[in-house]
Symmetry: C2
Subunit: 488 residues, 2 copies
């Protein structure tokens, strides 16, 4: 079979698209910038969603659902918020079509009195509800999460990484004190970090955004940033401390224990189907997708090899008890007994789909009491004994999960370095990766660096090495080094 996936070194962007296509994760849709998430991609999202949802519930959150449409006037209520989102809004203006010769047209008589915006994010519609739900400190905190689709009109889109419509979760919490809201913001950042590292096997750096990279309407935006194989950083999740901005915009006050009426404190936090893009670019190789076992919809695929019906029966009788044993251990295992495809075709398909482990069983294995085991991540093949195979496979899945994280961690650390001078920075940034360097804390210097090098400040470390120094550009005082990279 001809190689269907471009090599990373030849064309990284094409490689990414090839991996998505061959793994059948998603398609471009006829609506520019939208995508169709195919069953393989959606099963992956369901697993990510399941793990995250449990973590949200374990930290006391409940799910709810707020309307898709936001009245235009709501967006205007928080000045920075509307400025951030106005230029990328899908606007609903009419409510009917009418038939004309050969088709339909928008019915001009159905023009809405007030236009509706398809939510780009839900702070405004949610805080409008919170005003009705909150009277006293007894009603706080409110800890709500929503799984939803959102729309941001993007011109340059890319499957999963940047699409006009995407799926995400958005947490929106309300608190009686600044301290509690800041704690919540950081708690959810930690949840994202844990999810990224323990489930996605994707190492991340955490910190806080500069003012210019902040969410529109936030006081502080915390983030997790991951390093992709092409040396570019990916913002993988954000957690915002919103102060009292939305409470003031929507007039949400509570009566505190001291009897005073005070504005409520807020957070919001989100991750999206963009994570799938990050997952792909963290682990995959020139053979296609590589999935960490904890998120793989199918962890093990069993391929029977035979030449005739007798062999088929023999091989399946041999494999089926193992499959049952694996299922009993909670392993997600699939038997690929399709009759109309050759084993070689199946192997290539499972490789492209990123299934962590492949078990092949032929008549010789039956005779010798063996199995052939192939790891997707290392592409290593091994003959193992059928005795204790289920135990071995189950352990190996854990090993693969750890190995994937360690490999990604090592790759990230290999491209993370400190730089002292701006000349050195300009030279180094061409190689990609993360660079820690001193910055004077001004918007101007940040903008200059971005213009001259295309690198942005990905984050200011929260509890990082905080030795002060001199800004690499202006020589002015710098409290600590910050993290730079070119990014998606």
């Amino acid at each position: 079979m001809a190689k269907r996936i471009t090599n990373r070194k030849d064309d990284y962007s094409q490689w990414y698209l090839d991996v998505v296509k061959e793994a059948k994760l998603a398609d471009h849709s006829p609506v520019r910038g939208s995508m169709v998430i195919r069953p393989n991609g959606f099963a992956l999202w369901e697993n990510m969603k399941g793990a995250l949802d449990q973590m949200f519930k374990d930290t006391g959150h409940e799910n709810a659902y707020f309307p898709l449409f936001i009245p235009k006037s709501f967006l205007s209520k928080e000045a920075q918020h509307v400025e951030g989102f106005a230029k990328e809004c899908a606007v609903v203006t009419h409510s009917r079509l009418k038939s004309v010769d050969g088709g339909v047209e928008v019915d001009p008589e159905s023009k809405l009195e007030e236009e509706l915006i398809v939510r780009p994010t839900s702070e405004t519609i949610i805080w409008d509800s919170y005003r009705n739900w909150i009277q006293s400190y007894r009603d706080l905190p409110i800890l709500i999460n929503q799984w939803a689709n959102v729309v941001r009109w993007e011109m340059r889109t890319r499957l999963f990484l940047r699409t006009m419509e995407f799926l995400w979760q958005e947490g929106h919490t309300a608190h009686s004190s600044e301290k509690e809201a800041v704690e919540e913001t950081r708690r959810m950042l930690d949840v994202y970090k844990t999810f990224a590292q323990d489930f996605m096997a994707m190492p991340v750096k955490t910190g806080v955004k500069t003012a210019s990279e902040r969410f529109a309407g936030a006081v502080d935006t915390y983030c997790i940033e991951a390093m992709m194989q092409d040396g570019k950083a990916l913002q993988a999740g954000t957690s915002h401390f919103l102060g009292q901005n939305f409470a003031k915009a929507f007039d949400v006050k509570f009566q505190d224990t001291d009897g005073e009426h005070k504005y409520v404190w807020a957070t919001s936090w989100g991750v999206s189907t963009r994570l799938i893009g990050g997952l792909i670019m963290t682990h995959s190789d020139d053979q296609g997708l590589v999935l960490p076992p904890k998120l793989a919809p199918t962890q093990v695929v069993v391929v029977p090899i035979y030449r005739n019906d007798d062999q088929r029966t023999e091989v399946l009788d041999y494999a089926n008890p193992l499959i049952k044993e694996l299922k009993d251990k909670g392993v997600s295992v699939k038997l690929d007994d399709r009759e109309n495809q050759q084993p070689g075709y199946k192997f290539a398909e499972h490789e492209a789909a990123g299934i962590p482990l492949r078990v092949a069983v032929g008549p010789r294995d039956v005779k010798n009491g063996n199995l052939e085991l192939a790891r997707r991540d290392t592409l290593d093949k091994n003959i193992i004994s059928k005795d204790g195979a289920a135990e071995h496979i189950s352990d190996l899945l854990e090993t693969i999960q750890t190995d994937l994280f360690n490999a990604a961690q090592e790759r990230t650390e290999n491209v993370t370095r400190d730089v002292e001078s701006y000349d050195h920075f300009k030279e180094q940034i061409e190689d990609g990766g993360f660079i820690y360097a001193h910055w004077d804390g001004t918007d101007e210097t940040e903008a200059k660096i971005k213009e001259e090098t295309k690198a942005t400040i990905r984050l200011i470390p929260i509890n990082g090495e905080s030795e002060p120094g001199k800004c690499m550009v202006t020589g002015k005082e710098s409290v600590q080094k910050v993290l730079f990279a070119r990014s998606y």
Copy 2:
């Protein structure tokens, strides 16, 4: 505490709204016709979704996700389909807002070349994808489901029962033969019936719609219909045999085993958050919501009763092992140990929220080795021994589930009758309920009955009593009686 829920007999519509409000299931939203699904309502939807999703997967379906926006031209491709949905479409015409003094306006320069429709249902966008996925009989069947939000511009809305935006699932399958597609359509109808009866404890009648009540673009629409307490029927789910209509509209052909290129056969089927409205109206009473145990987010609530800290400790020490034992049995149990609310307040709240069983434990119960158990459905209270209480409670939850179904079944059968003459029909229909009567099979007679009595044909039984007779209106031949009711 003043009674906060209107009695059904006084004002059924207000009763419904009161139940929704007091159970904190949903709120009206500032966007006309949209609703906010609150955590209690959403947890219920999550349970319904979980059970249905498992049933879909058990019948071989996979989930996927298709775009929210449908190009206007797609809708026009199937003539009946566009006619059915054109008058209730949210239309996106622009992609940007711009700042003006004191707010934002739609930027006229961002007008789209082709307007986008917010999906009212996804047949068109999905069949456009299927064209790319299907070449040969080997690619069939495609068995896909999508969980999504859809928008239909409704003027007269009602929480859960009819809202502009609603959450639903829509299955879309593609088959190589008519027979297989019809089987799929009926299989999913059976899934809906099983779900309604076994999980929601809501008895349903099944059958096929008349031409005038068919889904726009379907050859046949099958449905489940339930009887509400006010004598009106509720269409609770539909499963459509779409023939080759969408395959023809989107030019989707496959090469069959005989080498011929043929149009693909299709089905689609869906249930929505409307089911929550049906659930409420099937079981609830003048005290508020009543939930069947299989879907209740909290099945058992434990309320400790005490006057001082010593009693509190004593009562909680007594209740906690029971709570653990219930959890180990897979019962969803919650301890309501809020300090700032009185037991009476808690009782009323749990009653309004429909929690199937309440356990109250006070110092006297501790002394006597007892518990007080209150059933939400019958409002019966019983003192039981703590010994074996977990077993008893777990069994009782099953009993409640069965009792709820039986009660609803009995109520439905009590208002289901056969009628022979149109005069009798007109008299009987005023009392609500289901009526079986003969109909001559014409649109005209159906329309006349609807106009004169507000009753519609809910369904034509599939395997019902099929004795032929004479139409009650025209006296013409009738193959079998059909099911009439006034409906939501």
